[in-house]
């Protein structure tokens, strides 16, 4: 259902040095400290919290990697680093061969637009836009024509089983339907990597199962990184990384 075109679905990435690789995401010795201002470390006398300590792992194309661990273990920080929403204090984050830590804000935003789809626990749909408009939103910045945006959004909504809800506002949808709209939005630019933060956290078991089936389907030819406390959610992962106090504690 979510299979990519033959050209897009090749499970390899051309690295900066020209090598072919199947690695979509690579974290190399990533450490991150939050300053008291909530952002990057600004001065040594600020009260800081170390969220990640020397974390390294790869995520290959066509695989799903789960992140588990207690609250504050660093799961969300890893997702944000992979999505280019934050720059770690130390280490490197490579996305499709590009070192995100070496890029400017604008360049990271561009990388995110081209290569990343994000699924939030709380959906974060724009309440004043219809389901279709929400799904089409990332395509606006991509410079896609209006008719193509609508067609693509409609196709994706049909694919997640919401073909009859395209004109509904998020407030008119159930939690499961909203999350499916959010997943469709994350897929709209056909990204290489999907990061999902507690994608079933706000859903009941049955609805959560539907969403996990979607993620499994999506993960066939993309890299998916999913953070969750929920064992059922992590069961769809090919590999689960357990974090504790910002460190990789276990990989299974």
């Amino acid at each position: 259902m979510f299979n990519r075109s033959a050209q897009d679905s090749q499970s390899s990435i051309t690295e900066a040095d020209g090598r072919e690789s199947t690695t979509a995401v690579r974290l190399e010795g990533v450490t991150h400290q939050y300053g008291s201002s909530g952002g990057r470390l600004r001065s040594s006398d600020e009260r800081t919290v170390t969220a990640l300590r020397n974390v390294s792992f790869d995520v290959a194309m066509g695989s799903i990697v789960g992140l588990e661990g207690p609250s504050g273990s660093g799961k969300s920080t890893i997702l944000h680093a992979v999505a280019g929403l934050l720059v770690p204090t130390d280490g490197r984050v490579r996305l499709c061969g590009t070192d995100l830590t070496a890029l400017s804000d604008a360049e990271r935003t561009r990388m995110r637009r081209r290569h990343i789809g994000i699924v939030f626990q709380r959906f974060h749909l724009l309440p004043s836009l219809s389901a279709r408009a929400n799904v089409a939103l990332p395509l606006v910045q991509a410079g896609i024509s209006r008719s193509d945006r609508r067609a693509r959004a409609t196709t994706l909504l049909e694919a997640v089983g919401l073909g009859d809800r395209t004109t509904h506002l998020p407030g008119e949808l159930s939690g499961g339907e909203r999350q499916r709209v959010a997943i469709a939005r994350a897929l709209s630019t056909d990204p290489d990597v999907i990061v999902a933060d507690e994608p079933t956290g706000e859903l009941d078991t049955a609805t959560g199962t539907d969403v996990l089936e979607l993620l499994t389907d999506i993960g066939r030819d993309r890299a998916v990184v999913v953070a969750s406390h929920d064992a059922a959610t992590l069961s769809v992962a090919d590999r689960v990384i357990t974090l504790r106090d910002g460190r990789v504690n276990d990989v299974r």
């Binding site: 990519r4 897009d8 990435i13 051309t14 909530g38 952002g39 969300s76 944000h80 999505a83 929403l85 934050l86 499709c96 804000d105 604008a106 935003t109 561009r110 995110r112 637009r113 081209r114 290569h115 990343i116 994000i118 939030f120 626990q121 974060h124 749909l125 724009l126 004043s128 836009l129 408009a133 939103l137 990332p138 395509l139 606006v140 910045q141 991509a142 410079g143 896609i144 024509s145 209006r146 945006r149 506002l169 939005r185 630019t189 056909d190 990204p191 290489d192 933060d197 507690e198």
Partner: protein, 424 residues
């Protein structure tokens, strides 16, 4: 890896245009949904603030325009008004004379000879002191005109209550017989305690001759002027002789009745270097020629922009503050800072634009209300005038205010942290 955006067959320019069109469409869509939804309060209050400010600006400017356009003494029903290019209505207020038209009686005759022109008259305005019997002298605005048999209005008074023609002019010799007639406004008559048939004596003031007697031919309600002002109509040549304006046949303006085009053509032929305006609509350029009116309108503009910009900045800043999550979502899906700030700027622009439309309507209604209130109380007639140019003026001022205000909501938006808003 997918590079859909970059691999589009369309050119860079096409994608850029679609991107901006999409962002503008997105902003419009969000704005409308919010303005028509249950959370419309802040947008409505911003629109209302802009609208009230623009309405206030237009009402004050309308009053200034009315002042600059001549006010009471310009209350005539002529088709075309000819004035010196550098005229100033303050001259008749502060006693300093401004430029006047010359050879007016002679050229009025020439204009009257044109096809399509019904009548033409010089209009000379002087301040004089009048006395009736043993009553106290009163200061009255004397307006000199040449009447005909048709009912016409100058300075809000009927000219046909004067004898038709201007016998004292006598082809420029100013030695013809004096009609000695005067038409008083109700206020002038009340102050002089005069009525039709009474003898009125012209005393002092700028008028050189004293003790010139005139007969009140009528006491009339002013039409379209300020009923509270003491005004009197006399024959033009007699006032010219009294004031010394006979040398050069001077007058403050010329008024012409007839077909619009013919009257304007005749007026332009007679005074190619003067300002020829079809009456019925005020001439907004008059604002620049009148110091008081100009100052009033400028103050209204400055106050309007200041209030409007302050309110827009505050309310839009609050709106953006509440809308940080949306900005964070836009950032998370790859909309760059420029695009996100554009959404805020466009939202502010839409709000001020809608406010300006409402404000122009309210301004027009306000001017009508001011005139109605004035008519019902102390000053019947138009004390404020609306001009079609007020529409673009109001919109431009609102947009200028939005431009002044927009840095604040943009600053609020720029401080948004995506992690703080959409992080768990």
């Amino acid at each position: 890896m997918s590079d859909e955006a970059d691999d589009l067959p369309d050119g860079l320019e096409t994608r850029r245009r679609r991107r901006w069109t999409g962002l503008i469409g997105l902003t419009f869509s969000r704005w409308w949904q919010r303005a028509s939804g249950t959370t419309a309060g802040r947008i409505i209050s911003t629109v209302a603030a802009v609208a009230l400010t623009i309405a206030f600006l237009l009402v004050v400017t309308g009053i200034a325009l009315s002042l600059a356009d001549g006010g009471m003494t310009a209350a005539d029903d002529a088709t075309v008004r000819i004035t010196p290019e550098d005229q100033s209505t303050l001259s008749s207020v502060d006693g300093v004379e401004g430029p006047r038209l010359g050879a007016t009686n002679e050229r009025a005759s020439e204009i009257r000879a044109h096809d399509g022109v019904a009548h033409a008259s010089p209009v000379l305005i002087e301040t004089g002191r009048l006395e009736v019997a043993d009553s106290d002298p009163q200061t009255v605005r004397l307006v000199g005109v040449v009447s005909d048999d048709e009912p016409r209005t100058v300075a809000g008074l009927p000219t046909d209550r004067l004898e038709a023609g201007d016998p004292h002019y006598a082809n420029g010799s100013y030695d013809g017989s004096r009609a000695g007639e005067i038409v008083l406004s109700r206020t002038a008559a009340d102050r002089l305690d005069a009525s039709a048939g009474d003898e009125v004596t012209v005393l002092t003031g700028p008028v050189r001759s004293a003790n010139l007697s005139m007969t009140v031919t009528a006491v009339a309600e002013t039409d379209g002027g300020e009923d509270g002002a003491p005004v009197a109509l006399v024959h033009a040549s007699e006032l010219q002789s009294l004031s010394g304006a006979a040398d050069g046949q001077l007058a403050d303006r010329m008024v012409v009745w007839g077909d619009d085009d013919d009257a304007r053509s005749a007026a332009a032929d007679a005074y190619p270097d003067a300002s020829v305006a079809v009456t019925g609509t005020a001439d907004p350029t008059a604002l620049f020629d009148d110091g008081l009116a100009f100052a009033t309108s400028v103050i209204a503009l400055v106050v309007g922009v200041t209030i409007c910009a302050s309110f827009v900045a505050t309310t839009m800043g609050m709106t953006v503050d509440e809308d940080r999550r949306t900005l964070a979502v836009l950032e998370s899906i790859g909309v760059p800072a420029r695009g996100r700030l554009a959404v805020i700027a466009i939202s502010t622009g839409i709000t001020t634009l809608v406010g300006s439309f409402v404000g122009v309507g309210l301004g027009a209604a306000g001017i009508a209300a001011v005139n109605a209130a004035a008519s019902a109380t102390v000053a019947p007639g138009a004390v404020a005038q609306f001009h079609p140019l007020f529409v673009p003026y109001g919109i431009a001022v609102a947009l200028l205010s939005g431009l002044v205000a927009v840095p604040y909501p943009l600053a609020v938006a720029a401080r948004t942290s995506v992690l703080a808003e959409v992080g768990r």
